[in-house]
Amino acid sequence: MNGVDTPPGRPRLPGHVLVVGAGLAAVTLCGALREGGFPGRLTIVGDEPRLPYDRPPLSKQYLAGERELADIALQLPDWYHTHAIDLRLGTPVVMLDPAAGRVELADGKALAADAIVLATGGRARRLTVPGCESARALRTRADAQVLRDALAPGAHVLVVGAGLIGAEVAATASGRGCHVVLVDPNALPLQQAIGPPAARALHAQHAAHGVHVVCGSVVAVESGRAVLTTGEHVPADVIVAGIGITVNTELAQAAGLEVDNGVLVDAGMRTSAANVYAIGDVARIASAPHRSEHWDNARRTAQAAARSLLGLPPQNPPAPWFWTDRYGTHFEMAGHYHPRARPVQRGDIETGQGTVFYLRGSRCVGAVSLDRPLDVRAAQRLIDRNVDVEAAQLADEDVDLRKLLKPRA
């Protein structure tokens, strides 16, 4: 393999970058490399047969039947052609040889590359209680298709797990006229992640929309009924588990890469093996406290890896951000929640529209918001730019938050 010559002072670029996985991280990486002037070969190898698609709509508009596969494509088919990306779909990678810069595909072919990027994502965790073999999960387009066909009006749907995916599925199913039971062992799901006021605001939506919320778990499923730890027996024509993912680290592990709740990477997304990178859900930045599974993280880690591959230094990561849409409302969070951070309310998140900013000293460290996304836009910039703020200004709805970002005269 040959590297591409670059101007003096810049390291040699890899001649061929191969990405294992074909989700958001993979597509973002290839786009960022081309945008950065990468002239070499780009290959994406994915195990799913379809053109790369965006996953967030799978639990929302796609599941509701409002959008089709073509509507949720990550890029239009022509994009791969104009960006000279060799897209190999429906062919899982079964072996990674970092030293040789080589992968083997399930169809027996082998591909060599100067840099290999693992963007293998994760797979949905399955329910393991007795009798639940028919329980569905929601991770892929195929999962969503099966589920969408099953969510007929009047169907009894049991959703296990009231985190992001489970809550969105419950909302979509309820919107389709299903009878929904939502079970979670936490009395207030997401509380640790988004703080109590936002968690209360979101969780209360379920009951308000006629979803039967149970604090507990499933013991067993018998002849179309689920037995819950509360002793309740609930009818369950359809069971959906939204209980998290298991990351696809097998290739990395078998290749001897360092793996610990994800493939360990540095700030430039380099794994422990030379010329092997990891991005998206499967990657865990070793110096960070958690591994992120959010959409925005997939993009940002891809952009960070692109910088590394282009020979550029890492940038400071911006505040993390995610959203969830349910029952016609739009929730967003930027930054982090910390139980000791000072909450500052703007509007009232628990009675409709509002934002809670979290402050440590004079700095905003996080914000959660229901139907006020511009407050979160402001918070992201307050966090990223280390702006000193006063709680009274954040709480005062007459203060234009954009003005807080302007350098003071």
Binding site: D54, L74, R402
Partner: protein, 116 residues
């Protein structure tokens, strides 16, 4: 080209620098509301509905010549409507807007560079 008449929107200074104003479809006859953006002395106009999912760009965040959708953070150049950041894949429709005699005049359906 369009046979739609130019619309006198407001006085130029009524839109503050960095600000925007959304003109409802019924006032322009265009198929969508149109949002006018001011950046310094320049004015730009785009279809208000985000090409990605239903959201109003006029409720977005304007910075560095780009409008960021309030819902999923897609960004568009306000000058051309070109996508600067996904998830949107399709550009926003840009319209010609100019300041004539201190008034902001919008020409729905005409492209920004479309003179005459």
């Amino acid at each position: 080209m369009s046979d739609q008449q130019p619309v006198d929107v407001c006085a130029a200074e009524e839109i503050e620098d960095g600000g925007m104003r959304t003109v409802p479809a019924r006032e322009t006859g265009w198929s969508d509301a149109i949002t006018i953006f001011r950046d310094g002395d320049a004015y730009y106009a785009l279809d208000d509905t985000c090409p990605h999912e239903k959201a109003s760009l006029g409720e977005g965040w304007l910075e560095n010549g780009e409008i960021e959708c309030p819902v999923h953070q897609s960004r568009f150049s306000v000058a051309t409507g070109a996508v600067a950041c996904p998830p949107a894949l399709r550009n926003a429709r840009a319209h010609r807007v100019e300041v004539l005699g201190g008034r902001v005049v919008l020409s729905p359906g005409r492209l920004p560079g479309d003179v005459g």
